[in-house]
Amino acid sequence: MDNQLLTIYINGDAYQVDGNDNLLAAVLSNKLNLPYFCWHPAMGSVGACRQCAVTQYQDEHDKKGRIVMACTTPVAEGMRISINDHASQEFREQVIGAMMTNHPHDCPVCAEGGECHLQDMTVMTGHTSRNYEGLKRTFTNQDLGQFVGHEMNRCITCYRCVRFYKDYAGGEDLGVFGSKNQVYFGRQEDGQLESEFSGNLVEVCPTGVFTNKHFSAHYARKWDLQSAPSICANCSVGCNLSVGERYGSVRRVMNRYHHELNGYFICDHGRFGLSYVNSNKRLTRTKGIDHSSPMGLKKQDVVRALLHYRKKQFLAIGSGRASIESNQLLREIVGVRNFSTGFSATQLPFAKQHADYLSRHQPVSLAEIEQADFVLIIDEDITQSAARIALSVRQALRNKGIARAQSMGIPSWQDSAVRTIAGEQKSPLYIFTSVATKLDSVASARYLQSPEETKLAVEQLIAVLTNKHREHEINPNILQIADALIQAKKPLVISGWSHQHHGLFSSSIALIDAVSACHSNSCSLMTAPEANTVGQLYLTTEITQSVEQTIEQTITDSDIAGLIVLEHELPSLSKAQIERLNSANKLCIAIDHSDGKFTQAANMVLPATPVTESHGHFANYQGRVQSFYAVTPPILPIQNAWQWLCLLASGLEKLSDELTVINSFSTLHEWFEKHVDRWPIKLDASDTSIAREPHRVSGRTAKMANQTVHEAKTTQSEEAYRFSMEGGAIDTGDNMPYVWAPGWNSNQAITFYQQRPNGPLMNRQSAKFLSFNEQPFHQYQSVDEGKPANTEHNDVSLAMSVPWFRRFWLTRSQAEFSMMVQANVLYVSKSYANKQQLAVKQWVKVSLSKKNQSTRQEVFAQLMIDDDLPVNHLYLQADELHENHWQLVSVTLADEQALEQWHKQVENRLKSAELEQKNTLTRLKEKDQTIPIRLVSGGLEDA
């Protein structure tokens, strides 16, 4: 529908509104206050809470009017309404009064206090005194698992939680129970919420029923938090986050609105997956550098430590976890030839082809996904690898129903009406997959098979689309997919790296090429493994070596003095290699923020900042370059990786002297602009300073009063963002540290910074994308798929089903994720089970080997039948395995003793995780009382 501007009269004044909007959205677009609960800009109107009532008049002579619900009333030219008349004001106050009959008024102990939509709306309606004299309803709360707290007595029954959880996000384990004024929102019984989007309940709930458990455990009011705009570092989507900190520990993550990407919602990996920054696995000290002063580190210390290595050649490994700046700088230091972009030997061919794909296709944004009316997913479990994309795909499936509703004159925002009309009708979604995925249940068809089979199917589909087929050779299912694709207005193809099958990856890209050749409005996207993987693709060239090659060369090449590894855990590094590195006398420098395999092995460790303490850029799956800012300044000797690299450059006497004096992010960028070809980023020059802390910040001067009565100096940073409440408006478009508007303390205040609800931010900057040149890698050989020899299972393929909380070592090593028990299950077909004489629920020992390697691994799993599996394909879900590069050796009945031992191990892991979680909390709370004063000074030279 076209955006048609209409004029309506609100309280007698004329306003311009969008003709496709409902009255509530129109009122809010004009930045007028009108309270609401059940309406949500992304979820539309259902008319349950009755809070947004206004008086509508027939014409200018009508003085009485009638009450209508703004959220369910479409705007019309010349419409006359009133917000400030007595009748509608009184009714709105009554609605709050009625809701409050059961609300416990426990604001002082509520985690939502001070940023509660219910508080805001209560004040807005002027409901100030209570008339209800009866008893209040009480409920029993549930344990909803690791992330979300539950306090049902606070509920005002707006139904937003289930509308988000079930209708919007497709969750199945949160529902509505009971009726009348005893409506209960919860699970059938206590237990971990199963949805990957459960954390959004915290923001969707207008009051404190659903709260962030991590935040509640170590709590601060919103006005006491220091916040900064950040980018999620846990997958390639690049969701915008607002991270909140107090006393040097990160307290919580909230969604930061971006109309093309995450909109109003993020996944649980983004919201809860940052706890590693508070972990005791954080590196806080240097290794291999003698500190000349007890007060801290001096530049000379680094220079002295590197004295023997001046001008020597180093190899380096960057990573998709590190910023564009750090990787680029590392590459400049060691030179292109010596710089590995951090891809393993298996990944490197994917990387090169992915870069090639990016040179021809612009991957779609999440907002564009939601416009698609046909989706084909090629063996990528996006719900686990890039969850926010899966949420958008779910919205795309609604387009058929929305179109049907529109044909009946029902606008898309009439949520319940549209869902009634849509019934079970969905836009087509076809899935080829090697593991069962959560989107399967909403797919038109799902083909569960090996990547090899999928590759053949994709090739058939290409043949059909390019008219190079003879009808009788093609599987009718493929013809059906091709038909649906051709008929669609905006077909979308999604794939990624998770299947780790190179042949399938190539043919997926060939398919995308074929689709875009035959359908002008088609679109596609490829997910990538890490937050800045696409930034690394940009640095990958023909000569780029894999991680394995780089390590091997470091060991064997006598010209190489050592290896610098930037924020890379080097999972493939073996004990033998570590020994060889040591005996070859190589200097291994690790720059990272958390302790891992390589930081333990390295002779020199430089503690770097995680994303919450850094300033830099990531490029998401689209190549969209986004900046993140430090929410809290690092405590020396922790520094930004690029700051360490400047010191290394000076110690190793690499690059120009200019670099050695770089002490700010903007001078670093100036240096890049001068010295780097195709340097893609231009910093926005900003004159205004922006406060990270809200102006009402309490106890600002008392924060450290237990240690000194003097007010501490705030950390000076040259960026626009201040580590204080000093600064101008928070309205900085794309980079708001937190959201607040007069009268609106909750995140719903975002409406006042948008052009219209659900629309772009008013002050947004234009998006920046990396531009990829056509790659010369077309002809590189297909790598050997590496079937191991001499196993009885040559003909059987195995895929790993890895949930999001096991995908990244930073996340999975955290206590709360360790405590999320994932059952070990091997899914097989019935005929496979019969052939192997195994029965359902039997415990089996699965022996695995790594491709091209002698590494063996054995895991215990329970056998389950998946009737959709072909006989030659299995998939395994196992807590111990996080990657898809295993080959099946054998499946045998488990030995009882060994099984028992394994069960004990799991139990112990849970126990120690529980203890660790407790200890971490105690440590952080203690730290609140003993925060070092020097935290508030900044920069190395200060020390």
């Binding site: 809470c49 009625a98 029902i410 009406a417």
Partner: protein, 436 residues
């Protein structure tokens, strides 16, 4: 009782209802046969429209007009091939109302015949009877009748070789008053929460499973065979101009003969109460009455001459509703009665919209206090405020306004009783030794 004077009930036998054979012997299924073989659906629809039949479920909406809202598609439109549904609303749960039960238990085949006719006219291929869960006997008898009809080829594929097919299913409700609201009923039938839907879309356009659907009350549907058997003129002669047909009236309360009577539409309240229900019990006088179930406004003894048709009752300030009188005598406490009714509506609120969900229990809480003699005069203002709060247009459906009707009319008509409770700090009726 003849078919011409008591079309709906002349075959009713609550102890031993007619089986298929017996029903056929009484000219059963003759009207259905006539419609299937002699009428096109469009012709039959015209007949229903011109008959003036109005919905007997409470709202009184013209049946033929309701059916004509079904969308018509061009033949090549894919939507033309989508199914349509017919639902019989047999979820009779309005307090004081039990007319449908008589038809369901007493002459089950009449309903099936009616549904075949309605299904044929609207082009439904599948039909459901949504039956109140507590009507166990009706469930048994309806299911038996459905089975017989299938055996006799009056249901299923190609009914009587007419080319028309209809699948009919009995669904017994899990038991919520709100399922009487047609869209809540549809949600319940789909296995969802029984919450009324947003309208538009109306069920005629997008109802059960998003497909065009007609929902009609048992009594409404039961008129159909007789309209086709005896003609439109015969049907219209039973009632004054604005209405047509007969109506099953009921009466309960402390009256001599509580019960049900099929009478020409528009009988006066006085005749119904005194001639058919035998008047008040000994020693009691009429204080007021609810003319059509619990969700209608009180009427007073001065209204005895009002005709029980949709327009006349509306003019008197109430609604015909289901046509089931609930009679209040002078020795029963009106506050207790209203409290009792409010308790029902607070209990049956679906919990969707705020005014109903939180307003009805609030009103109940105040009424309870007043009834116990603990109320204050400001409580009466608060009750009036709540009546405004829950009125039409402010709520999602008609349940809360239905709860307001007896409350507000009681506040207006029986003000003294409320004030007495407050001033005497007790229930004056209990004080006088009457039943409260």
């Amino acid at each position: 009782m003849t078919p011409l004077t008591h079309p709906l009930t002349h075959l009713v036998d609550v102890n031993n209802p007619l089986n298929f054979k017996g029903y056929c012997q009484q000219k059963g299924y003759a009207a259905a046969k006539k419609v299937l073989f002699e009428y096109t659906p469009a012709e039959a629809l015209d007949t229903v429209k011109s008959s003036g039949l109005k919905g007997r479920g409470g709202a009184g909406f013209p049946t033929g007009m309701k059916w004509s809202f079904l969308p018509e598609f061009e033949e090549d439109d894919p939507r033309a091939k989508e199914p349509k549904y017919l639902i019989c609303n047999a979820d009779e749960m309005e307090p004081g109302t039990f007319k449908d039960r008589l038809l369901l238990e007493g002459v089950p085949h009449q309903l099936i015949e009616s549904m075949i006719i309605a299904g044929y006219i609207i082009g439904a291929t599948r039909a459901y009877i949504f039956l109140r869960g507590e009507y166990h006997l009706a469930a048994k008898r309806i299911q038996q009748a459905i089975d017989e009809a299938y055996q006799a080829s009056w249901l299923g594929n190609d009914i009587q070789q007419s080319g028309y097919s209809l699948e009919l299913h009995l669904h017994t409700s899990a038991g919520r008053y709100i399922c009487g609201e047609e869209t809540a009923l549809i949600n319940a039938l789909e296995g969802k929460r029984a919450t009324p839907r947003a309208k538009p879309p109306f069920p005629q356009v997008a109802g059960l499973f998003g497909k065009p659907t007609i929902v009609n009350n048992v009594e409404t549907l039961s008129n159909l065979p007789h309209i086709f058997a005896h003609g439109v003129e015969w049907f219209q002669q039973h009632a004054p101009e604005s209405d047509a047909g007969t109506k099953i009236y009921g009466a309960c309360g402390r009256i001599k003969i509580p019960g049900l009577w099929e009478l020409p539409m528009g009988v006066s309240i006085g005749r119904l109460l005194n001639d058919h229900a035998g008047g008040m019990c000994e020693g009691l006088a009429l204080k007021g009455l609810l003319p059509g179930g619990a969700s209608t406004d009180f009427l007073l003894p001065e209204h005895l001459d009002v005709a029980m048709d949709y327009d006349s009752i509306a003019k008197a300030g109430s609604r015909l509703g289901t046509g089931g009188l609930i009679v209040l005598d002078d020795k029963n406490c009106p506050v207790a009665m209203v409290k009792n009714i409010m308790q029902f509506f607070a209990q049956e609120s679906c919990g969707w919209c705020t005014p109903c969900r939180d307003g009805t229990p609030w009103a109940l809480e105040i009424l309870t206090r007043i009834e116990q003699g603990k109320g204050t005069l400001t409580d009466i203002d608060e009750l009036y405020r709540l009546c405004d709060f829950m009125w039409i247009g402010k709520t999602h459906c008609a349940l809360a306004p239905g709860a307001v009707e007896p409350l507000r009319s009681a506040l207006n008509y029986f003000t003294d009783d409320f004030i007495q409770h407050i001033e005497e700090h007790c229930c004056p009726y209990q004080q006088r030794g009457h039943h409260g």
